[in-house]
Symmetry: C2
Subunit: 389 residues, 2 copies
């Protein structure tokens, strides 16, 4: 962060993603919170500020006021607490807000959480709740769904850049492979290109294996000024930048539906603040709510030119062990997408990678700098965070 | 704020509160935003960060992702935007987050908005949406409503401190009187104690005139570091402190249901940060979602001992022109309670008061320091803000 106080992560932790029938939203937040606090070696009493990312507690479980709910359930009263929301980028936004709180000089130890309990509603209802992330009056009202919007993007992208459907399948196959090595992943099964290509159609050209699942889950990170973080850990992870950006909620108003301009803007700004270049990045977590989104992200983040991500994917460069590892945890596709938690879960994964603590087969060797990319809606919000060892 | 960067308000504005059948959530935000930007003498392009308080866009109008929505509709892309939520304290929390953004040194000109469009659902459904602010599993699930919870607090308070029902009515009469002088108020009719006492029972002892209305409305404040604010206005309003605090969401877990501990904690901390005492405050906006809440607020903020607010109210001290003016705009009761906007609307009112620009009859003469108090739920969140000329 470009200010006097450098922000660092002491610890970060996530629950397993999945269908947690035995856990409510409080239990999920508690589980991730206790893990993070334990790992940090702090006591709950040390926490001075709490930010919780949550997209739709109201519509999923009838519960708003989730900042205070989590503070209450974790025994953190009377510290300030709040929920922040930017659709599926709620977690990333929570993280950037936590960084602001530390950077402001008003708070030293700050907890950033993300939580979503999605499976208490029927699957069709989940799709309708998620439509709250698009422009209600101009998109949802007319029957648009997110698979439908991303399908439009995919169709156009495939046409513009002559990309074959197998490329999308390759993204899914790679992410399921990484997920198979991640004990916290929602899906741990490996799949083949053939399986992906014959899976049920959701919204042409997107099939089941192109879509991230509806998941329950939570993640928590503990932040502090670097100097204080060093007292708690020998391996503080430094926040070089955490930048949100906005764009139109509705796809119809975009300059180009194959580019998420909020990602472009946030990435450029983040690299500028971090004084880093694309080649400095060793490991990347991107927002692959649909397989097409992973391709767009790689390009919009500036790691290759428009239309060239398919080559990287088809050549296997995005596997751990490849030239440019993407979504080492299985991405949203396989590790799960508990919408409000996803952005913080990505941070927890990067912290693991930068500390060399990821499971065998999915650890990027010697990773020193990582980037997380979290998107809300079809690109109305994007958050880009750069972390370094 | 206790940091190197002193935060100030350049301008603040609110829409009229009421049933805005002809306006959607975007239109309300736009109206307040344009007023604030115009008053500030800035251009939209100068705004670097946007925080929007909104409680239940998802359940009221199917719309989440309201930070980006407002950024989009106000032409602010690609700046960072987010929605923050802490039930009915969402506006207050948004304001305190805006202050953090300025204080962090990362952003200079920050817009803080609050917006709620509540009247698109049936009144009974509004009550159910608002229940999202309580502990769903331990309160709402069992049929609790907010009038019911505050009625419990009122009953106990009247019993403990030997307070008569006329005191509650006096709060309503005073707030309707102030509201009658405020062109932006939802209700501009004056009422009598007799009218209040025979109005329909909602939840014993609370009657219709004890309850704030379901309102549509929005408010926006423009913040900057003091030195920059001075370039835009001769009367910057300085943010001496803006402090949120948390408590249990559910009333059943409270130490004492006649005290909102989050208010006590936030107020003590705010006065400490502001280096001020209670006697320094000239004008107060408190969170009177129900008349009982105004009595609790005066006491919990430390302006008198527990049980003594009724004397102040019954003696007429809380009128403009009295010793201790409270809710000069009519409070939530008469000026309206568009839940996510209320906290910012209070700030807009204080800015008006501290600049001596309130309407005749409701301007506190020579007001130099004001305090705003915003509560979420039955006290799970409280935000106390101290502003000075």
């Amino acid at each position: 962060m470009p200010n006097k106080r450098e922000v660092a992560i002491i610890s970060a932790a996530a629950t397993k993603c999945g269908e947690h029938w035995d856990k409510g939203i409080k239990d999920l937040a508690w589980e991730a919170g206790v893990k993070a606090v334990d790992e940090a070696g702090i006591s709950g009493k040390d926490i001075e500020y709490l930010v919780v990312g949550n997209m739709s507690g109201g519509m999923f479980v009838g519960q708003e006021h989730i900042g205070a709910l989590v503070a209450d359930f974790l025994g953190l009263n009377p510290i300030p607490s709040l929920r922040v929301e930017a659709a599926c980028a709620s977690g990333g936004i929570a993280f950037s807000q936590g960084c602001l709180a530390v950077a402001s000089g008003l708070y030293d130890i700050v907890a950033v959480g993300g939580v979503e309990k999605m499976t208490d509603v029927e699957p069709e209802q989940a799709t309708s709740v998620l439509s709250g992330a698009m422009d209600f009056e101009w998109e949802a009202y007319f029957g648009a769904t997110f698979p439908g919007l991303y399908a439009l993007m995919a169709k156009r992208y495939m046409y513009e850049y002559n990309v074959k459907i197998e490329t999308l399948a390759n993204v899914a196959v790679k992410n399921h492979f990484h997920g198979s090595l991640n004990p916290l992943a929602h899906f741990r099964n490996r799949i083949t290109v053939e399986e992906a290509l014959i899976s049920p159609m959701v919204a042409d050209p997107l099939r089941k294996y192109d879509c991230s699942p509806v998941s329950d889950g939570a993640a928590v990170a503990i932040l502090a000024p670097l100097e204080i973080a060093k007292k708690y850990t020998d391996t503080p992870i430094i926040v070089k930048a955490s930048v949100p950006a906005s764009d139109t909620l509705s796809l119809l108003k975009r300059r180009d539906i194959c580019t998420i301009d909020a990602t472009v803007y946030a990435a450029n700004k983040a690299f500028q603040l971090a004084h880093m270049e694309r080649k400095d990045i060793d490991a990347v977590e991107v927002h692959d709510c649909f397989t097409i989104a992973e391709l767009l992200a790689i390009e919009d983040l500036g790691f290759c030119k428009k239309g060239e991500a398919s080559k990287m994917v088809n050549e296997g460069q995005t596997y751990v062990g490849g030239k440019f590892p993407v979504n080492m945890d299985g991405g949203l596709k396989a590790s799960g997408h508990p919408v409000g938690a996803t952005g913080v879960k990505q941070i927890a994964e990067l912290v693991k990678q930068l500390r060399g603590e990821a499971e065998r087969g999915r650890q990027v060797n010697g990773a020193e700098v990582g980037l997380a990319h979290n998107v809300g809606g079809s690109g109305g919000t994007a958050v880009v965070t750069i972390l370094s060892r």
